[in-house]
């Protein structure tokens, strides 16, 4: 069987006019402006989450997506009603683009009973499975096989399969669970779009201590799946590569592995100053800010006027402030009304404690 393995070198992904993969002319400006709106909102929402964390309103930790917005949004924007989306730790942008409300996001961070997790779980561990939006658990690698299963369900039910989209970090690829899930998706030839965000570090651990291949894209051929490389700091490139990967998945070409290079532009969580990050990396191409780069690119390619973008910023900020005002009025969860059972089946509940 013929397999597509595109190892696009980062240099080619910045969008030169002669790059056959990436042609600005192939891009829909309105889609790009929309994507930009989401990454901007995601960035502001992250800043707001950090501010709430610092003021003590966020229990536990705050885990931001800075640097991963372009990659994240471009995956989610490929998704259609009926698709499955299982974002991970740094997918604020994708979540918003998939349809999550700002309120849902913030409520999860503060543990509001009105949020989707009702104070039981928090921060990035949120979702609404009924909407095809699956919540992560902390254990890295445990989610992709769940997406596989959702797709298998549709096959068995004779329903249109749609696609299943999920994300993992460079560190997460070292888990056995990730391997089993990739292999399972390949054997079952499922429309899984698996995005690896290689942001150079897993917590403090550099990728050189995490894997020994040159690029995680080298894993694609070993699973027998299509592989795509992309510059994760380049919104336009991400949009095009995701478009192709999602299309191939929908067309029955089996799992698609996308490997993006980028840098985490924040700590692992807000408790972490990330002082271990190599300054040279921050200065390099991989360290550039994908949100700012996207704005520059839109303007340089005549896809948006500067005034348009600053108006967007004003609108988005207002939307965000309104949501913050709303959720800060939420009550705290009440242990006395909490049901304290883990079982769905009422007849099987017992109260041993």
């Amino acid at each position: 069987m013929q397999r597509l393995v595109e190892a696009v070198p980062p240099a080619a992904v910045t969008g030169g006019p002669n790059d056959p993969v990436l042609r600005p002319s192939a891009l829909d400006p309105s889609q790009l402006r929309l994507a930009y709106r989401w990454v901007l909102l995601a960035r502001l929402l992250d800043d707001k989450t950090a501010a709430l964390y610092r003021s003590g309103l966020v229990p536990g930790g705050a885990f931001l997506s800075k640097g991963q917005e372009a990659l994240s949004v471009s995956l989610a924007m490929q998704l259609q009603p009926g698709d499955i989306y299982a974002p991970l730790i740094r997918d604020t942008a994708g979540r918003l683009a998939f349809g999550e409300t700002i309120q849902d996001a913030l409520r999860s961070c503060i543990g509001s009973p009105l949020g989707p997790m009702r104070g039981r779980d928090g921060n990035v561990h949120r979702g609404r499975p009924k909407d095809g939006y699956l919540p992560m658990i902390s254990h890295l690698g445990a989610i992709p096989s769940v997406v596989n299963g959702a797709l298998i369900a549709r096959r068995l039910q004779g329903k249109p399969m749609g696609i299943g989209a999920t994300c993992i970090g460079d560190g997460g690829t070292s888990t056995g669970a990730f391997h089993e899930a990739m292999n399972q998706a390949a054997v079952e030839r499922l429309p899984l779009v698996m995005v690896v965000a290689d942001n150079q570090y897993a917590y403090s651990t550099h990728r050189s201590r995490q894997f020994a291949c040159d690029s995680l894209l080298d894993r694609a051929v070993g699973y027998g799946v299509d592989g795509h490389a992309v510059d994760g700091t380049d919104l336009a490139a991400c949009m095009q590569v995701m478009d192709r990967a999602a299309r191939r998945a929908r067309e029955g070409c089996g799992p698609q592995l996308i490997v993006a290079n980028l840098l985490r532009l924040c700590g692992h969580g807000e408790h972490d100053d990330a002082s271990y990050v190599d300054p040279a990396l921050k200065e390099s191409h991989v360290g550039r800010d994908c949100v700012k780069a996207a704005a520059d690119w839109l303007i340089a390619h005549g896809m948006a006027a500067p005034g348009e973008l600053s108006k967007m910023q004003t609108d988005v900020s207002a939307e965000l402030e309104k949501a913050v005002d709303e959720i800060l009025r939420d009550p705290a969860p009440d242990p006395n009304v909490e049901k304290w059972t883990a079982l769905a089946t009422a007849a099987l509940r017992e109260n041993a404690s």
């Binding site: 609404r128 499975p129 669970a177």
Partner: protein, 321 residues
């Protein structure tokens, strides 16, 4: 006609597949081969596309079942041996078991664990892991001891909206036989008085029921009437039925094939004494496997797990207190 415990499991799956289009079976070698123990024999042919061979990937097997379950399916997962479920344990205890609690969306999976010792199976093909799964919130753990329960409780398991750990005992697969499949059954979660008696309550489950019944026969010849409670489900655990029996007998012995520390026997005793201390005329006792891995050689194995003989001795101690 006569039907074995193993056939009952096959029949229950055939019925579940036949009655509910959302049921499917997934596990290693379950397809055309019919499973390592033949518990799915013929089902792949009878239900094309719905009895699916899995790669050797227990984590992904369970993970995918979770994804299918929340999309409305009713997966039945066959682990080749209970022992190998440790490799998929994280998905079971941290993802499946917490799903409903976290999201309000039920996660109905049946995970079949061929468990318990058989002669010569050794440390990695003999384990009884029910206590490990019962410790984690969010799971239902069933331990059928009879052909009838193997059948009816497996159908129950598939119908339950929560993840169910279905501990089927390999020792009973071929040897245990019934006349026919049951038409009714006790509700799942309820224990059963397997033998009535007024001198001692012997609480047990799974294969140890049969060793205990043999011990009770032996003790009957010596004039002791042992009441045997077959737990059937160890989570939830039917404390009421146990307590009612202890109220009648005043004496308690708990027998389990699993390791002692924190096992079913400890849990039952803790419940009985905290709620029914005054019912007891003698210290409650437990009998379990020894606290070592399960030995390969049949002579060591026979000494490692409780048997009718060691149960008889333990019961006599409680009776003579």
């Amino acid at each position: 006609m006569s039907i074995t415990y193993l056939e009952a499991i096959r029949e229950a799956q055939a019925r579940a597949l036949g009655e509910n289009p959302n049921v499917y079976i997934y596990g290693q070698d379950v397809g055309d081969f019919g499973g390592a123990f033949k518990a799915t024999k013929g089902l792949a042919a009878q239900f094309p596309g719905r009895v699916i061979d899995a790669p050797i990937s227990e984590d992904a097997i369970v993970g995918s079942a979770i994804g299918a379950a929340i999309q409305g399916m009713r997966p039945i997962i066959e682990m080749q041996f209970a022992d190998f479920s440790t490799v998929g344990l994280n998905q079971i205890v941290n993802q499946a078991a917490t799903y409903y609690w976290r999201t309000n969306v039920p996660c109905p999976i049946t995970i079949r664990l061929p468990c318990g010792g058989t002669s010569g199976s050794g440390p990695f093909h003999s384990q009884s892991l029910e206590a490990v799964y019962a410790h984690f919130p969010g799971l239902v753990v069933l331990t059928p001891a009879t052909v009838e329960d193997a059948y009816s409780m497996l159908l129950d398991a598939v119908a339950i909206d929560d993840p169910v750990i279905f501990c089927e005992h390999k020792f009973l697969y071929y040897h245990l036989k019934a006349e026919k499949l049951p038409t009714g059954a006790l509700p799942v979660g309820k224990a059963r008085i397997a033998r009535a008696g007024r001198d001692l309550t012997l609480v047990t489950y799974s294969a140890m029921l049969h060793e205990s019944l043999a011990a009770a026969e032996e003790l009957a010849t010596q004039g002791y009437q042992v009441e045997i409670v077959d737990l059937r489900s160890i989570k939830p655990l039917d404390t009421d039925t146990v307590m009612a029996s202890v109220a009648r007998t005043g004496r308690l012995l708990c027998v389990g094939e699993a390791w002692p520390w924190g096992g079913v026997t400890a849990e039952v005793i803790a419940r009985v004494v905290s709620e029914g201390f005054d019912l007891l005329d003698a210290p409650p006792q437990r009998l379990n496997a020894k606290d070592t891995p399960i030995p390969f050689h049949p002579r060591l194995w026979a000494a490692h797990r409780p048997t009718a003989q060691s149960i008889t001795a333990a019961a006599r101690n409680v009776l003579n207190y």
